[in-house]
Symmetry: C2
Subunit: 457 residues, 2 copies
Amino acid sequence: MKKFIFILSLFVFSKVDSQNTDSLTLRKIYDFYLTESKCYKNLEQLCTTIGGRLSGSPQAEKAVYWAKKAMYDAGADTVYLQPCMVTHWVRGAKETCVLKSSQIKSSQDLNIIALGGSVATPSIGLTSKIIEVKSFDELEKLGENNIKGKIVFYNVFFNEKNISTGQSYGETVKYRYSGASKAAKYGALATVVRSMSSAKNDSPHTGAMGYDSTVSKLKIPSFALSFTAADVLSEALKKDESLTLTLKCYCQSLPEVLSYNVIGEVKGTEKPNEYIITGGHLDSWDNGQGAHDDGAGVVQSIDVLGLFKKTGIKPKHSVRAIAFMNEENGLGGAKAYAKETEEKKWKHIAAIETDAGGFTPRGFNIDTLTGLYKLALKWKPLFSPYFIENIDKDGGGADIGPLEKFGVPCIGYRPDGQRYFDIHHTADDTFDKVNKRELELGAAAIGSLIYLIDKYK
Amino acid sequence: MKKFIFILSLFVFSKVDSQNTDSLTLRKIYDFYLTESKCYKNLEQLCTTIGGRLSGSPQAEKAVYWAKKAMYDAGADTVYLQPCMVTHWVRGAKETCVLKSSQIKSSQDLNIIALGGSVATPSIGLTSKIIEVKSFDELEKLGENNIKGKIVFYNVFFNEKNISTGQSYGETVKYRYSGASKAAKYGALATVVRSMSSAKNDSPHTGAMGYDSTVSKLKIPSFALSFTAADVLSEALKKDESLTLTLKCYCQSLPEVLSYNVIGEVKGTEKPNEYIITGGHLDSWDNGQGAHDDGAGVVQSIDVLGLFKKTGIKPKHSVRAIAFMNEENGLGGAKAYAKETEEKKWKHIAAIETDAGGFTPRGFNIDTLTGLYKLALKWKPLFSPYFIENIDKDGGGADIGPLEKFGVPCIGYRPDGQRYFDIHHTADDTFDKVNKRELELGAAAIGSLIYLIDKYK
């Protein structure tokens, strides 16, 4: 019995001791991030000296070499440019939208933006009547008789009642992504969609759209109206169903071009050929600076290299920071990383994606694969002093998603999401919208999680 | 045994049923706030049509009548103006601070603001050498020999390592509040203090200071430098200890004036003479618009009246929304409410204060008095779908604090605090810094807590 108690007490003490060690290490990690982190300075550089960096653009190319340097500066043992073929869509000159109505004597300009992937209008513009719909069901019910020759206006609101703004986005983004082909099927000439946001302002939100040739062979131009412009149009239609919009955009889809994911690595001391990765995407839309989406994720990921190089904490496994290319409109980078993973049989212990903005951290969404979710639940008390309370099931993101088929547990970093869709894909996604402490606390949360995964997996 | 199981199952079912009812009611409450709340519109009005509203000012008086109308508009059964005597300090013309050094050929203006309660400098200004200190200990060690005839510069940084920014504020605010008398004791002519913030910008943060005649009979002018200006001064002192500052301010402390707390009430259906109260403060500093501090708390409190009037949810106890006056520099309103509570033997079931900004909700800090804290812990699963995870001990705030001596359990609403001290008491505390959803979710959290307290206490 005595021996049993002795062993039990050893076990209990060693468990308490291990929790204490982890607690002290997390404090050390947070101290590093809150006083020595370069992520805010890095983000300022990326946003203000390079700015928006759509795949295939000169800015995206600059960003690749910027990321490489930033990773070496952070202390990476190696930085690798991983080739990938990326979408090369260009916006051309600024789009215009003019509303004309017999009720409104003078014409009115509405704030609009072409969606990524859209074809151009004829150079003289495209003028037509409008048909407003609230859903795909309604579109189908209206059918060719009512739609042919018109511009379809998807006037679908963000559901403000959802607590998760991501859920509201998920419910409405289909009108942006798939709306054009579905409307073209009934002979529509173009589509305009209400911006995916609950922020009642005049900034239109761009984002990817795709043509589905199984739905319609016709490719029609596709736009997003600002929240305010969508209100104006909807109100005007109530007074005058026969009003017209004149739409102009100058977009072009060019052949794919070579670009790169940027992968910085700190070698593991015990298992250098096993990887824990964290990444954000380096490309962004062209209209803003790509600050929250996703400069924040890139600089938070780069910071992990600094953590392991500057605090004396040595990872057993190799740790990679990845600046993925082409998340916004093609996932060329994600595909290239998954392909090389398969070819080289890279073993990943875990993959973290940070692509939800540089806001105050709330937690992580973690795959139930390989028991990582259950393990992470035990770490809740370690995170609690840092106000991180949400360890939930299901994880990942677009860039690491293709790794799931290899059994890699994927994790989505989850910051507070209330402000994200106010600026998402708009000209307002700029550096000044990011708070230094919120960004750093997010980086610290990710660094802490990697430390724990490295130690216990 | 069967009977026992029958009774047990009744108990279990009734508990589950009650949780379901509460869960549905909370959803209804959140739906109200996210779609029908007037708090954001109210805040816009208060901030942009009235603006900064220091106690005793014409703006503060306007705000009283604005709050009265807003409470009636929200559906209050009665609105009561509760008289209180308030501090009447006026800033006068804008302060100036000029740094002159033999090393720096030209003089340099530094961004500065007089602290609330400060006396004026002589009208020609006050010019003197500087002595920089990092703590009161250092001040005392330097003593009269080193301090007499100089301006004391409290150059104490916010501790960036604290996760709670409120903790950093608590650690440094003593230099702002008590620094003048402690320096005057050793013959200092004035004090300048580094602004209480970790935001590295050029906006000085004002706030209350007080003279302590038991420390020194002399009242010397007292200022806050912006973060940037404090850096400039500290760097300049390293090169030239004999540099001078010329300080000018024109403040005056006038006799106390009559003002009001504004109390809106929805009558309880069963216990109309027992109260649940929620309040913020209507006064603000004069340099900004008092948006986060504490217009947000006022409009969130007013919204509770709307909740009970417009959703059909009837409170058993009377519910009061209170717009307190004079929180920033005297607590005249808090004292008046406590006095009338004592005189009229008002019975309070609970008191909530919302004075930490209109940011995303994180939770509540709750007094352990009367078992409310333990009861609230049981409500955690109800709040969890709304990402409210922190139900912690200890509560209250400056305005409801005086009620604790009557045994009233006090509760502090706790939003995310990372951005608060970036703008606190500065010209940047303006309406545009408040996010609509974050403000509304805070109001919904408070409304939900009041519903639960009303039902279970």
